[in-house]
C-alpha cells in the first residue's frame, strides 16, 4: 500500500468508527445503568434509518428537509424507547437477571415484522446529503464529503456525552446509578425516571445513528441483527459502561477492518491468504484477543454486583417422588406415541427432543454454574459437523460417527472453556459468543472440508434407523439418557460444588473448591452434551450447514432456557417444547408469525417472570415437593 492509500483507508476507518460508536454508545449507557442487555438496540437503529427515509421523502431533499428528517427520526425513536421502557421493561426489573434480555428479543421480532409491514420488502436507498454530495480530493484521491462530517461527528458526540455525564446533575445521578444503583436509590434518586431517561437517550442515539447512515446505506430488513452484533462487540471491547472505551473500541475495530480490506491478499510462506475474507469475523477475533488479555475490556472495571435483586437462589431440590414418577410416565407416554402416529408428529417430536437436550445442556452451565453462554450453538453445530465429517470424510459407519461426533464439540469446549471461565458475567457471555462466531467462520470458510456456506449433504442414518419411527426411538432413548445424566450430575458432589462457586466464589474457594476448574469441567460437559444433540440433529435432517452454529441458534437456545425458567430443573425442557411448537404452528398459520412469537414471548415474560416451570413451582409448591 502506498502512503496515500494508507491515509485514505485510515480515513475510511474513522468514518466507520463514528457510525459504530453512535450505536454502541447508546447500548453502553443503557447497560451501564439498567443492566439490560438490549437486543432491540439494532432495531432502533433500523427504525431510525427507515423513518428518516420516509421523513426526508416527505420534507423534500433540500438541506432543511434532510437535516430535520434526520433529527426528527432520532427524537421519535428516543420517544419510542421511553415508551417501551415504561410499558414493558419497567415491569421486569425485579425479575431474575437476563429476563429483560428475553423481552428485548421479543421486541426485536415484533419490530422486524412491523418494519416489513410498514415499509415493505424492498431496500430503500435514500438521497445523498444536500451540500455534501460530492468528494474532496485528499492526497490525490477522492474522499466523500459526508464521511468527513461523520468523522467529526463521532468525537463531537463523545464530548457531548462526556459533558452530559460529568457536568450535569442528571449525569452525576446516572454515574451514581451505574456504580451502585441501590445506593443511589437509597439516597432518594427516583430510579424510574432515571432508567426511562437513560433508555430514551440510548434509543435516541441509536435512532440518530441509523438516520445518519441515510446517504451511506439503504434501509433494509437485515440491519437490526447485523448492527446489534457489532454494537455488542464494541461495547464489550471498550469495557461495559465506558463511553470513552466504546469510542476507542469502535476506532480499533473499524481501522482493523479497513486495513484488512486495504491490504487484500498477503503471502505467508508461499500461501496466499486473503485478509479481505477475514472481514467475515474480524470484529470477533479482536474481541476474543482483547478479552483474553484484558478480561474487562479496554477501559472496563470489574462489574459491581447489584445488591438486593440478585438474591441467592435456593439450591434446587431433587425432584420429589411424585415429580420423578411424572417424568418417568412422560417418557413412557412418549415411547407410546409411534403406536398412534407415524408421520409428522414423530418428526416434530424428534426435533423437540434434540432441542430439549440442547437447552438442558445450556441450562447446566447457566443454572447451577451461573455462566451465561451466548455461544452455545457452537458446540451443537460442531457436534453435528463432527458426526458429518466422520461419516463422509472419515468413512466411519453411521452409528460410530454419531457416537464420536460430539468429541469435536467436547474438544472445542475444552479449548475455548479454558479462556472463558477466566471471565464472568457479560464478559464471559461475549467471549463465548466470540468463540462461537470464530468457529462458525471457520466452518463457513473451509470449503474443501466442510462444504462452506452450503454445508454437507447425504448424512443419513444407517438403514435400520432410517424410518422416522426408528430414528424417533433412537432420539428418545439418547436424549432421555443424556438429560437424565445431566440432571444426575447436578445433584452429585460436583454439581453442588459448581453451585457453591456460583453463589459465593470466595467461600467456595476458601473451603478448597477450585472454582475455575469446576466451571471449566462443567463447560466441557455442557459442550459435549450439546454436541450429542447436534449429531442427532444432523442425522435427522440428512444435511448440515453453518446455520447450525450461528448466532440465531444460540439465541434460540437461550430463549428456550429463559422461557422455561432458569432456576428450575425441568424448565428448559418445557421451554424447548413450547418454543419449537410455537415456531412450527405459527409459521404455518400466520403471515406475520415472527411478530406473533414475539408477542407470545412478551406475554409469557410479563405473566410469568420466573419462567413457566418457575410459575408452576410457585403455584403448586408444597413442602417437600419439587422446588
Amino acid at each position: 500500500m502506498s502512503a496515500s492509500a494508507v491515509l485514505l483507508q485510515f480515513l475510511n476507518g474513522l468514518a466507520g468508527a463514528s457510525s459504530l460508536f453512535l450505536v454502541a454508545a447508546g447500548l453502553s449507557l443503557i447497560f451501564g445503568v439498567t443492566r439490560i442487555i438490549n437486543f432491540a438496540h439494532g432495531s432502533f437503529y433500523m427504525l431510525g434509518l427507515y423513518l428518516a427515509y420516509t421523513l426526508i421523502g416527505h420534507f423534500g431533499h433540500g438541506a432543511t428537509g434532510f437535516w430535520s428528517g434526520v433529527l426528527l427520526s432520532g427524537v421519535a425513536i428516543g420517544l419510542a424507547g421511553a415508551l417501551i421502557e415504561g410499558l414493558v421493561l419497567r415491569r421486569l426489573y425485579a425479575a431474575p437477571e437476563l429476563l429483560q434480555l428475553l423481552a428485548t428479543f421479543a421486541l426485536l421480532l415484533v419490530i422486524q415484522d412491523f418494519t416489513l409491514w410498514a415499509w415493505g420488502p424492498e431496500d430503500l436507498l435514500g438521497p445523498r446529503a444536500p451540500g455534501l454530495e460530492g468528494a474532496l480530493t485528499i492526497a490525490g484521491r477522492r474522499f466523500p464529503e459526508y464521511d468527513l462530517l461523520l468523522i467529526a461527528l463521532g468525537p463531537a458526540v463523545l464530548f457531548a456525552l462526556h459533558w452530559l455525564l460529568r457536568r450535569t446533575r442528571w449525569g452525576t445521578l446516572v454515574r451514581a446509578a451505574t456504580q451502585d444503583r441501590d445506593m443511589a436509590s437509597a439516597l432518594g434518586v427516583n430510579q424510574k425516571w432515571l432508567f426511562t431517561g437513560v433508555f430514551a437517550l440510548g434509543a435516541l442515539l441509536a435512532g440518530t445513528g441509523g438516520a445518519l447512515q441515510i446517504p451511506r446505506e439503504p434501509a433494509s430488513l437485515f440491519l437490526d441483527l447485523s448492527v446489534i452484533a457489532d454494537a455488542f462487540v464494541v461495547v464489550v471491547v471498550g469495557g461495559l459502561g465506558s463511553i470513552g472505551g466504546a469510542f476507542l473500541a469502535a476506532l480499533l475495530i473499524a481501522e482493523v477492518k479497513a486495513f484488512c480490506i486495504g491490504i487484500g491478499d498477503i503471502a505467508i510462506a508461499g500461501q496466499v491468504f486473503s485478509l479481505s475474507k477475514l472481514t467475515l469475523v474480524v470484529e470477533f477475533v479482536v474481541m476474543a484477543v482483547v478479552l483474553v488479555l484484558r478480561p474487562w475490556g479496554l477501559f472496563g472495571r470489574p462489574p459491581s454486583q447489584p445488591r438486593g435483586s440478585g438474591a441467592i437462589e435456593a439450591p434446587l431440590r431433587p425432584p420429589s417422588r411424585t415429580a420423578f414418577g411424572a417424568l418417568v410416565a412422560l417418557v413412557g407416554a412418549l415411547a407410546l406415541v409411534p403406536l398412534v402416529s407415524h408421520g409428522y408428529t414423530l418428526i416434530l417430536l424428534t426435533e423437540v427432543l434434540v432441542f430439549a437436550l440442547l437447552a438442558v445442556s445450556l441450562h447446566f452451565i447457566m443454572g447451577p454454574g451461573g455462566l451465561h453462554s451466548f455461544g452455545h450453538a457452537a458446540y451443537f453445530g460442531l457436534g453435528a459437523y463432527g458426526a458429518a465429517l466422520l461419516l463422509k470424510r472419515g468413512g466411519l459407519p453411521m452409528e460410530l460417527a454419531l457416537a464420536l461426533g460430539p468429541l469435536l464439540s467436547g474438544a472445542a469446549a475444552l479449548a475455548f472453556g479454558w479462556f472463558c471461565v477466566r471471565l464472568s458475567g457479560v464478559y464471559f457471555a461475549m467471549l463465548t459468543l466470540a468463540f462461537a462466531q470464530i468457529s462458525w467462520s471457520i466452518v463457513f470458510q473451509w470449503d474443501a472440508l466442510t462444504g462452506g456456506s452450503n454445508g454437507m449433504i447425504g448424512i443419513w442414518p444407517a438403514r435400520w434407523l432410517s424410518s422416522s419411527t426408528a430414528y424417533y426411538y433412537l432420539t428418545l432413548a439418547a436424549c432421555t439418557a443424556a438429560i437424565a445424566a445431566l440432571w444426575r450430575i447436578m445433584y452429585s458432589p460436583f454439581g453442588y460444588a459448581l453451585r457453591a462457586g456460583r453463589d459465593s466464589p470466595l467461600r467456595a474457594g476458601a473451603i478448597g473448591i477450585d472454582v475455575r476448574a469446576q466451571q471449566w469441567a462443567a463447560f466441557v460437559i455442557a459442550g459435549l452434551f450439546a454436541g450429542a444433540g447436534g449429531a442427532l440433529y444432523a442425522f435427522s435432517k440428512g444435511s448440515i450447514s453453518p446455520e447450525s452454529l450461528a448466532v440465531p441458534r444460540s439465541v434460540d437456545s437461550l430463549v428456550m432456557v429463559l422461557l422455561g425458567g432458569i432456576q428450575t430443573l425441568t424448565g428448559p425442557v418445557w421451554g424447548a417444547a413450547l418454543f419449537t411448537w410455537l415456531q412450527d404452528t405459527l409459521s404455518r398459520s400466520v403471515e406475520y408469525w415472527r411478530a406473533l412469537i414475539g408477542i407470545v414471548i412478551l406475554a409469557l415474560v410479563l405473566a410469568f417472570p420466573q419462567g413457566i416451570a418457575g410459575f408452576l413451582r410457585a403455584r403448586f409448591a408444597t413442602d417437600g415437593d419439587n422446588r
Binding site: 446505506e217 447485523s226 480490506i261 449433504i457 408469525w593
Partner: protein, 400 residues
C-alpha cells in the same frame, strides 16, 4: 363435541353429489411449496404473486385432467434444518405429490437431499448453485433458474470483446459469489488467455464496508471490474463507487444487476454502461411476455420482477409435468419432467434429461438512467441452452 356418524355421512354424500366430477377425480392434487418468505421478501413476494397467478389460471382452465391444483405453502425460515422439517411435514402430513420452491443455495441443497431420500420430486425454483444439478444433483431434483455458471457464461462473451487486461473482482463471500468468481476466472481464461486478476475483494454478505472496498479496488488500478454483488451490498458499492469515481473509464460487469429487484432501488445512482444480466420487463414485446405482463398487472396492480416470472413458470412446470405424467407417481413424474417443454414468459424452455437443468435464459444488456430510474438498454435475450455444458460434459459433472 361428537357429531353422529350418520349426520357426517349424509353431509358428505350431499356435498359430493353436488360436485360435477365425483370420487377421486374431484380430489385436488396437492403441491407442497416452501420458501424463505421472511428472510428474502424483496425477491419472494413477487415470486409468490407469480405462482399464485399461474395457479389461478391453471385452475380456471380446468386444472389438470379435471383435478384442481392445491398449493400448500410454508415459510422455511431461511434455515436448512427448518426447511427439511417443513418439507417432511409437507410430504408426510399434507401428503403433497411433489415439492417446489426454495431460494438460498444451502436451503435448496438440503431440501434436494431430502427429496432424494424420500423419493419425492422437487422443483428447485430459485437456488443458483451449480451443485444442485451437477456435483450434488440427484434423480428427484430439477432446477428452473439459469445457474450461476450459466449467467456468468452469458456475460463472458461481452467481457472478452472489450479486450481488457487488468480485472478486479468483488463478490459476496458465500457459495454464490465464490462460484460466480470461479466460473468467471475459468471462462475468461478460455475466452481471453492472459488476463490478470489484480484485486479480489470478498466482503461478507450484507455487510460490505463499501468505502474501504471501493478504495482498495481503486488502488489496484484495474481496467475492468467483475462483480456479483446484489441487494444492499450492491447499492452501497454503487453509491461509494460513484462518489469516489471508481467507475469512470472502467468497464463493469455485474451479475443479476439488471433484475428489477436489485436495479430499481438504485434510482438516480444507476451507473450507466454496466453490463448485467436481468429482466427489462417493460421493453420485452414478445406475445408470450405481453400476455403474462397484462395478466400480472391486472391481477396484482404491480409490475413483475424476476421472482414473478420464476414463480409463474415453476407453477406451470408443475402443471405440465402432472399433465404429461397423467399420474402423481414420482417415477412417472421424473419421466415426464426429463425433456419436458414448458411455455414461459421468456419463450419455451426444456428440462434437460441429462442434468435436470432447465434451459431458461436471461436478458443481457447494459444499464442506463432514464427519468431518474435505472433501465436496461442494448439488451438481448440469452437462451440458457446456449450456455450450458454439452450433455456429455454435464454427465461427467454429475457423479452418478
Amino acid at each position: 363435541m361428537k357429531i353422529p356418524y350418520t349426520i357426517l355421512a349424509t353431509v358428505f354424500a350431499a356435498a359430493s353429489a353436488s360436485m360435477p366430477i365425483s370420487g377421486a377425480a374431484a380430489q385436488p392434487i396437492k403441491v407442497g411449496e416452501l420458501n424463505s418468505y421472511k428472510v428474502f421478501p424483496a425477491f419472494l413476494e413477487p415470486y409468490k404473486k407469480g405462482w399464485q397467478l399461474a395457479l389461478e389460471e391453471i385452475n380456471a382452465s380446468g386444472g389438470v385432467d379435471g383435478r384442481k391444483l392445491e398449493v400448500v405453502s410454508r415459510d422455511d425460515g431461511g434455515d436448512p434444518g427448518t426447511a427439511v422439517r417443513v418439507a417432511e411435514e409437507l410430504i408426510t402430513r399434507d401428503r403433497v405429490s411433489l415439492l417446489m420452491g426454495t431460494f438460498a443455495s444451502n436451503v435448496g441443497l438440503a431440501v434436494a437431499n431430502l427429496a432424494n431420500q424420500r423419493k419425492t420430486v422437487f422443483i428447485a425454483a430459485e437456488p443458483l448453485t451449480d451443485k444442485i444439478v451437477w456435483q450434488d444433483g440427484n434423480r428427484y431434483t430439477f432446477r428452473l433458474r439459469p445457474s450461476t455458471y450459466m449467467q456468468v457464461a452469458m456475460l463472458v462473451p461481452e467481457a472478452a470483446k472489450l479486450k481488457k487486461k487488468r480485472w478486479a473482482i468483488v463478490y459476496p463471500n458465500y457459495e454464490y459469489g465464490q462460484s460466480a468468481t470461479a466460473s468467471f476466472k475459468q471462462l475468461m481464461a478460455q475466452a481471453q488467455p492472459g488476463i490478470e486478476i489484480v484485486a479480489e475483494q470478498a466482503p461478507p454478505l450484507g455487510k460490505i464496508d463499501a468505502g474501504a472496498v471501493v478504495q482498495a479496488l481503486l488502488d489496484a488500478k484495474p481496467d475492468a471490474i467483475f462483480s456479483s454483488l446484489f441487494a444492499a451490498d450492491l447499492q452501497k458499492f454503487v453509491r461509494e463507487g460513484n462518489i469516489r469515481g471508481l467507475f469512470k473509464g472502467r468497464a463493469v460487469f455485474n451479475l443479476l444487476g439488471g433484475e428489477p429487484e436489485y436495479l430499481d432501488p438504485l434510482k438516480d445512482e444507476t451507473p450507466g454502461g454496466w453490463w448485467v444480466t436481468g429482466y427489462p420487463w417493460d421493453q420485452i414485446k414478445t406475445p408470450e411476455h405481453t400476455k403474462f405482463l397484462n395478466a400480472y398487472e391486472k391481477r396484482w396492480n404491480d409490475y413483475p420482477r424476476v421472482g414473478s416470472v420464476v414463480g409463474y413458470t415453476t407453477m406451470y412446470t408443475v402443471a405440465d409435468a402432472l399433465r404429461k405424467a397423467r399420474s402423481t407417481d414420482s417415477d412417472k413424474l421424473i419421466a415426464a419432467l426429463e425433456g419436458l417443454q414448458v411455455e414461459t414468459p421468456f419463450g419455451p424452455i426444456v428440462y434437460r434429461a441429462v442434468d435436470h437443468q432447465s434451459t431458461m435464459g436471461a436478458y443481457v444488456g447494459q444499464l442506463a438512467r432514464k427519468d431518474g430510474k435505472g433501465v436496461m438498454v442494448n439488451w438481448h435475450f440469452a437462451n440458457g441452452a446456449d450456455y450450458l455444458p454439452s450433455p456429455a460434459e454435464a454427465k461427467l459433472l454429475r457423479k452418478h
